[in-house]
């Protein structure tokens, strides 16, 4: 099986990274015309790994070629979606893969300044990345006249300070401007009006980490690793009640069931599977009979859920679904930036109802109420956080209705053992 990212893990020092062939992709990219690089990325069927799965080459082509103002690259290393820990591995174990990817993207779009927006909690990891950036400057891979082409790129690390919503691209831009992380109304989109009102590309860490291989081995090769509309491999962060939680790289289109049982070792202590949250906490949960699904954007969508960030959270029979509901609703209520009424009020109502269910004060009709609130939040807000909060609630209320009703009726948890 061809892997794209994980084979680089451990090559943290620039010597080791280069010995294994690092920076060849960037060198090749800079010998091509920027349009050719974008073409190659389009051919690769690379889709954004931050959660939305938007085609990367297409995103880049929305940025005006000629701009009197500077253009910026914002690298999204906020990694806040609960369950997600994949970008951390790239930042910590293969930082040059990200730097090389940033060079390629910047060349393709005509960018001379890039910022890595890294979540504040990754402060120690930011130091590793900063050291790698220093090494790259020392070799002339960053700074002025890269590879003698006349192209220059500055790359800076910028720490966030604890706010999930800052992972949303326009909130990230606001935060980078020194403001509260409140998403902007779109249009205009960042491609034309982003950081400081200038054309801006926002890309996820993992997205960029795929670029060196695409440049070196070609877009068609990358596309062939995956399925029709999703090229390459994907990093999956598996956690919860599995024997071997951790990070796994599989081709797009691999089986979710196989990821859980063949790679992550199956359910701990051979208990029964109860459900799988397949793409971070905002993705609708799947029941055990629904996990024979292919891990790519379109197949997951057809299954009524999302590939999201590739964070697979596995729940066994000991999980109390009222508790899961409480944790998820509390999280989104805590993280709503408060700008939109449906999101601010909806998330806080859902959290209150979930809290009263878990506290044994649930009322008949609460599940329908939860679903009504969730539905009324969707598609009506500035950013998709409201939808992200609503989708998992609807799925849990529908798929685990009996258990939740019992919880409400009995005023206690039907799952918890002595």
């Amino acid at each position: 099986m061809s892997l794209v990212i994980t084979p680089w893990f451990g090559k943290v020092r620039i010597e080791d990274y280069m010995e294994a062939g690092g920076y060849r992709g960037a060198k090749k990219a800079l010998s091509m015309a920027p349009e050719e690089v974008i073409e190659e990325v389009k051919k690769s069927n690379l889709r954004g790994r931050g959660g939305a799965g938007f085609p990367t080459g297409l995103k880049w082509s929305f940025v005006p070629r000629d701009s009197s103002r500077p253009k910026y690259l914002c690298i999204n290393a906020d990694e806040g979606e609960p369950g997600t820990f994949k970008d951390k591995y790239i930042l910590r174990d293969a930082p040059h893969l990200l730097i090389e990817g940033a060079i390629i993207a910047s060349w393709a779009v005509g960018i001379n300044t890039a910022f890595v927006y890294i979540r504040g909690e990754y402060g120690k990891i930011a130091l590793i990345l900063e050291k790698a950036i220093e090494e790259a400057y020392a070799r002339g891979f960053l700074g002025k006249d890269i590879f003698g082409t006349g192209f220059s790129l500055d790359l800076f690390v910028h720490r966030g300070a604890g706010a999930y919503v800052c992972g949303e691209e326009t909130a990230l831009i606001e935060s980078l401007e020194g403001k509260r992380g409140q998403p902007r109304i779109r249009p205009p989109f960042p491609a034309t009006y982003g950081l400081y009102g200038c054309p801006t590309v926002v890309n996820n860490v993992e997205t960029l980490a795929n670029l060196p291989a695409i440049m070196e081995k070609g877009g068609e090769w990358f596309a062939s690793l995956g399925v029709e509309k999703s090229g390459g491999t994907k990093l999956f962060a598996v956690s919860g009640h599995v024997k071997k939680p951790g990070l796994y790289e599989l081709p797009m289109g691999a089986s979710l069931k196989s990821l859980i049982y063949d790679y992550a070792g199956g359910i701990r202590e051979n208990r029964r599977l109860k459900g799988v949250i397949p793409g971070g906490s905002s993705s609708p949960i799947l029941k055990p009979e629904e996990i024979e699904v292919a891990l790519d954007y379109d197949s997951m969508m057809k299954a009524g859920t999302m590939l999201g960030s590739g964070a697979v959270i596995v729940l066994d029979e000991t999980a109390c679904m009222a508790k899961v509901l409480q944790v998820i609703t509390r999280f989104y209520a805590h993280e709503s930036c408060g700008q939109c009424t449906p999101c601010r009020q909806g998330t806080s109502w859902m959290a209150k109802i979930a809290h009263r269910i878990i506290s044994g004060r649930g009322r008949e009709g609460d599940l329908d109420l939860l679903k009504d609130i969730a539905r009324s939040m969707m598609g009506k807000t500035i950013c998709p956080l409201a939808d992200a909060a609503a989708m998992p609630v609807i799925a849990i209320c529908e798929k685990y209705r009996e258990e939740l009703e019992e919880h409400i009726r009995e005023k206690k948890c039907p799952v918890e053992r002595e």
Partner: protein, 156 residues
């Protein structure tokens, strides 16, 4: 207004060169000031505001938006325990209870000897280590009460 150290000042000056707009440095400057003073109160906000040529209210609204800025004095070590989904599935709640009892503090509180501040936080991006906490930015995973005892003992 309190003065910041020359070292911090130097870091901030270097930082300001990165951004075409001074205000952009705000989050980073706040981190630097917090590393120095431990927290950022009204006075800290004013110091930062004058460094960046901003109205203090601009600094205040940022400090109050982000959870990692401490607004009152904290202990020598900040313990951040994750309470999100994977950690909860693997027992975070009972560990949070354990920590509260052991340290005799509530969430957000600081021990009477000033050694520890206890905070609960959302997913730390380390769910493979769940249940997990961070102390002073370092991850500690697969926690049990015994392991917590050991870790805190070493922090003396």
């Amino acid at each position: 207004m309190r003065e910041i150290s020359p070292e911090a000042r130097e870091k901030i000056d270097a930082l300001l060169k990165r951004y075409p707009v001074k205000r952009s440095a705000l989050l980073e400057v706040l981190h630097i000031v917090q590393e120095e003073w431990g927290y950022i109160d009204g006075e800290g906000e004013e110091t930062v505001a004058s460094l960046l040529g901003l109205e203090p209210v601009r600094v205040h609204e940022v400090v109050s938006f982000y959870t990692m800025y401490e607004r009152k004095p904290v202990g020598n070590h900040i313990i951040r325990v994750c309470r999100n989904i994977t950690c909860t599935l693997l027992g975070a709640e009972s560990l949070i209870h354990y920590l509260k009892r052991k340290l005799k503090v509530d969430e957000g509180g600081t021990t009477s000897d000033g050694r520890f501040t206890l905070e609960t936080v959302e997913c730390l991006g380390a769910c493979e280590l769940a249940p997990v906490m961070q102390i002073d930015g370092e991850f500690y995973g697969h926690l049990t009460p015994e392991k917590i005892d050991e870790i805190l003992e070493r922090m003396k």
